[in-house]
Amino acid sequence: MSDQAVPALAVRSLARRYGAVEALRGVDLEVRAGERFCLLGPSGSGKTTLLRLVAGFEAADAGTVEIAGRRVDRLPPERRGVGVVFQDYALFPHRTVAENVGFGLRMQRMARARRVERVADMLALVRLGDLADRRPDQLSGGQRQRVALARALAPAPALLLLDEPLANLDRRLRESLRAEIVDVHRQVGVTIVLVTHDQEEALSFADRVGVLRDGRLEQVGAPVEVWQRPASRFVAGFLGEMNLLPARPEPGGRAFVDALGASLPVAGESPAGVVVACVRPEALRLERDGVGSGARAGAGVPGVVQHAAYAGGSVTYRVAMDTGLQMLVRAALPDGRPAFAAGAQVAVHSEEVACRLLPS
């Protein structure tokens, strides 16, 4: 339906400063029509500022914002056609669920009969039809956020912005509501930009992820891409636990990693200069120290387990290496118990684990 060539959102050189703090330092970003885009970053990275500039709640110091090909950066929020869902719901407390959802339609001066119909449709979409006459304080957190979603979608916005919408909910509710938002997205087809600091949420929700750090976009790509091929140490570390180990490139597409005492094959390019090797904890293997004699004896590096973080299906060991470095090693536990406890003498094995090299 929407023209694929025109991005739903195009942000160019967007900058915003609060006193001495540069919240955004010239961000360029295009979000494709109909996609679920996720802005991921730690607090203070500028992701909420970016969202507020797109919504028009604040003015940018420099740069432009286009929504569906239309310049909007000089327009007030009410003329941008952007729906927003906030972390703390921001429902109107003195209005019923139906009145909340109908508010945007009343602002559009939609005729009453059509409005009632549209509100009913929106409430059905988020499965809250039977709560239309309740007030927000009579709803649970998850229900409130679904009302907020229905309210933002009712005026049929060109773009839907979700500002940490699940952060106030407990884990199980968060996952079910996230799945529900994906369902709603499939039915409505609106372009969604989700802001979050939760990498798991970003990876599982988005078609593409943009990682923000200190007001700059560090990397934009599909979840698999940013996970497997992080563009920087920061992205590698922020997207999940990662061992970043000093390395020396060797001829033949290999790199020698001192901490592992091994030469590993390199996936992707080798940047010039000093590099670190990225090795995911799940790529490494622990064995009891002294085991694995003979031909493979050289592959293990000794250390002591500092902590074993059991997580049901897996366990993550923090290992203090004899060299002083700390190493994370994750082992899948289809069943059974973690093989090592804190204090165990172990050897870290890394036979032919492919690594990525990043500038140090």
Partner: protein
């Protein structure tokens, strides 16, 4: 919850005991206020009620009333007294007009202060509170300096040649309402300001993104949720308005004397304590009825 209940079979009884303990401690919290109300309001009020139906002073006695007599007829007689009725009417009208004017001034002004930022906001809040630090009489004579026949206002108007003789700016309803508003305004202002400050800025943003302009969004997310507080502010204003005393005495003249002024003259100038107590009692009952009426209507509508 369910698991906890299963683990502790005695929970309901224990919970009830805990609730009772908390309620007992709650009582402890209200004790100072309760003591205050009983000693400083309830006891004197009952004393006034008793005096209002006492007999007139016995000649040669050292009291202004005779408690050995019970004269319940005093109150119906007073209620039928045309002077009492007219003064009560003036007082109620003054209180209501003061309330309407105060709220009409306070809502927009509180909204302005709420939206102000930085040092200017500090100045505005100080401007609301500072007049309360000035003695009431000083404030009223200050008003006379402005509104009097040789006050700033009249001298200015005459100097500009706009009027030939001083306008009668005091000794009338305008002057009395003006002073009462001046005296009472800080209370509704502070109540409204607190209520507006409780507004959630995200709701304002949400309203904007849903198509509301800044004014509409402000009404929806700041003013509208503050309605209950505005009711409270109006109540405080009305209670002050009904109790108006010094303002009408200094800036009004006999047609604008209130119940409080009449009680004062009867009790402390003419020493007619029985009469004064009757005025006070019926006045309080009438104000109570007027104030309770809207509250009852609101409650009826909610349920």
């Amino acid at each position: 919850m369910q698991a906890a209940a299963e683990l502790t079979p005695g929970a309901p009884g224990a919970a009830a005991a805990a609730r009772r303990a908390v309620a007992g401690r709650g009582l402890l919290l209200v004790a100072p206020a309760l003591l205050f109300v009983v000693v400083l309001f309830l006891v004197p009020f009952l004393a006034v009620a008793r005096i209002s139906v006492a007999g007139p002073a016995v000649p040669g006695s050292r009291t202004f009333f005779d408690l050995s007599v019970l004269a319940p007829g005093n109150l119906p007689a007073l209620a039928a007294d045309p002077l009492f009725r007219s003064v009560l009417g003036v007082t109620l009208r003054l209180g209501l007009v003061t309330t309407v004017v105060c709220m009409a001034v306070a809502v927009p002004f509180a909204a302005y202060v709420h939206r102000a930022r930085g040092w200017w906001k500090t100045v505005l809040v100080a401007a609301i509170i500072l007049p309360k630090l000035v003695n009431l009489l000083v404030l009223l004579y200050g008003v006379l300096l402005i509104l009097g026949n040789r006050g700033f206002l009249n001298q200015g108007l005459q100097g500009l040649g706009l009027v030939d003789r001083p306008l009668p700016l005091f000794g009338n309803l305008f002057a009395v309402v003006f002073t009462e508003v001046l005296v009472v305004l800080p209370y509704p202002l502070l109540v409204l300001l607190a209520a507006f400050s409780a507004a959630d800025a995200r709701q304002f943003d949400a309203a904007r993104s849903l198509g509301a302009g800044p004014v509409r969004a402000y009404l929806e997310t700041v003013i509208r949720p503050a309605w209950p507080a505005a009711g409270g502010a109006a109540l405080i204003t009305a209670v002050w308005g009904f109790g108006a005393f010094v303002g009408p005495l200094v800036l009004g003249n006999p047609p604008y004397y209130t119940v409080a002024v009449e009680v004062y003259t009867r009790a402390l100038e003419r020493l007619e304590w029985v009469d004064a107590a009757g005025w006070a009692l019926l006045g309080v009952l009438a104000f109570g009825a007027v104030v309770a009426l809207p509250a009852l209507v609101v409650r009826r509508r909610r349920s």
